[in-house]
């Protein structure tokens, strides 16, 4: 147990140290969500009107972009394992007395803190995009971002424990993670798309992660929309039931726990 705890903080500490020392990574991971935000909101602002009462496209997309940046950062924890394997540093870790569970959880924690940091930077930029902020939003966002990040880190680490090269990891990100992210309702409401896409989106666990974050920002608007219709245009409705924040987080969290357990198992077996 003590070795696990030590593993968690030592590994997380290094992840953060690396992140802080690699300026280019810092810049690129912040740059992408900001570019998405600026380009899409400016580009589509005039084409797309309000999605629901009081919800314009920017207000709709902004929480989605935060969720997307959390996903990407968390999944990259897996890339960090592959990278460590390539540069040989993983051996230094594996031959140390730290146990494997601690190493996996430490990578997940490191990635989650980085994801949270980026979410907070995005949050600080909210006024620039005309998105109103409140203390409630900040306080609710922190735990939810951490749960989502931990879960997605589980996914990233599960893949990372099996992959031998950065290229193959990147390919997987492009083939699986980007499509899943785009189908998670970041840019459009999943209740109002063609049937096939609705099914795919609602089977996609990331959709519930995006919804959890969107609910923090659009709490009032979503409950108003739900009052108006049993099939609200925003939120995620499955079999006539619109999920609550707790349900969203629980779903992603449970899946994430399973993925992390899988990552620990795989790490124990394969490295």
């Amino acid at each position: 147990m003590r070795q696990t705890l030590r593993g968690i903080w030592v590994i997380a500490y290094r992840e953060l140290l690396r992140f802080a020392r690699e300026r280019s990574r810092l810049a690129s991971s912040l740059g992408m969500p900001i570019i998405f935000m600026v380009v899409f909101s400016e580009g589509l602002k005039r084409q797309i009107g309000a999605l629901a009462v009081g919800v314009d496209f920017v207000k709709f997309m902004y929480p989605g972009i935060i969720a997307m940046s959390v996903f990407i950062n968390a999944i990259f924890s897996g890339l960090s394992v592959v990278w460590d394997r390539e540069i040989g540093f993983l051996k230094e870790v594996l031959v140390s007395p730290l146990n494997r569970s601690g190493v996996v959880l430490g990578k997940a924690l490191g990635a989650s803190v980085i994801a949270l940091f980026q979410a907070l930077v995005m949050l600080a930029l909210a006024p620039l995009f005309g998105v109103p902020l409140s203390l409630r939003i900040v306080l609710e966002l922190i735990p939810i971002v951490l749960v989502l990040a931990f879960s997605l880190a589980g996914f990233g680490l599960l893949i990372g424990s099996r992959m031998r090269s950065q290229q193959s990891f990147q390919v997987l990100v492009q083939m699986v993670v980007f499509p899943l992210t785009f189908l998670a309702g970041v840019f459009f409401p999943v209740n109002n798309v063609p049937r096939w896409m609705e099914i795919v989106s609602k089977l996609n666990p990331l959709t519930y992660g995006v919804d959890a974050i969107r609910r923090i920002f659009l709490a009032d608007e979503i409950s108003a929309a739900m009052r108006a219709s049993s099939h609200p245009i925003i939120g995620v409705t499955v079999f006539g039931h619109t999920t609550t924040t707790i349900e969203d987080v629980a779903l992603v969290g449970l899946l994430g726990t399973a993925l992390l357990a899988g990552a620990i198992f795989s790490f124990n077996r394969h490295t």
Partner: protein, 339 residues
Amino acid sequence: MNREQKTPSASETVISTAGLARNFGHTQAVKGVSFSVAEGEVFGFLGPNGAGKTTTISMLCTLLTPSAGEATVAGYDISSKRTEVRRSIGLVFQDPTLDEYLTAIQNLRFHAYAYGMPKRVRDERIYELLTLMELWDRRNSSVREYSGGMKRRLEIARGLLHHPHILFLDEPTLGLDPQTRHRIWKYVLDLRRREALTIFLTTHYMNEAENCDRIAIIDEGEIVALDRPEVLKDSLGGDVVTLRVEDAEAAAAELFARYELSASIETDSVRFKLPRAEEFLPGLIRSFSSKILAATVRRPTLDDVFLSLTGHSIRDDRPAANQQLRRYLNTPGMKQQLS
């Protein structure tokens, strides 16, 4: 060579193996090696690439599970007491394992945290080792900016940070220039004098093996000889004479016919062993009927020992076997056997 006599008594043994073996698929990388290493000894594994040196070291360091046999390191079984083994050993790998984006100090701190060193001991130890390795002035530089020799010194410092009982060095000076190699050896021998340290190293450099108290010569996964370097060299029975000749076959035949010397034939030369060769040579040259172009006499080296034991030179790198192993290790399905 009396192996029993050389084997250290059980009380001071820090590494002992019995029939330790490892297969990769159908390739037997290590075919059951048995040896023991005494406390404070510098013990070398000498052999060409692909002989099974790294595989053996990986098993002793708990990075690879043996296919058969057993071993204890620092008194702990390598299969059932992994954490205890890991705590007792320091390891310097053949390939770099530093985080180049971090500074030397950050790399060492990470190591100290991972091994749970108390703060006061840690800072003193970092200072001591970085000073010894002449890296203290560069402690806050990114490792990326280090030369190959500096990196290797930092890896050695890191391997020693947590006061291990045994330091494993896998080809510690591979790819370094002779001057740097010499310096690294100076540090290693220095350290061994200062701390009761046992050093287990692998190498395919002959002169490096000379620094060892005892060496095990390993070829194709088997130990073919194990003793002190001088004993191994003396066992060859004399100096090595190399004659460069016009017709190697004829020269070898003549040597056998006239002096009953069995010479090995190389492309344009013959080589044989003889005690006090410098006194014998003038007479031979005067009366030899094959044409001699050049003659050299030298004291036997470990390379000669290796050649006489295995029939091939240690410098005949056989990368094929090594690459095969690497390829094998990189197949994801195979990783499940690593732990």
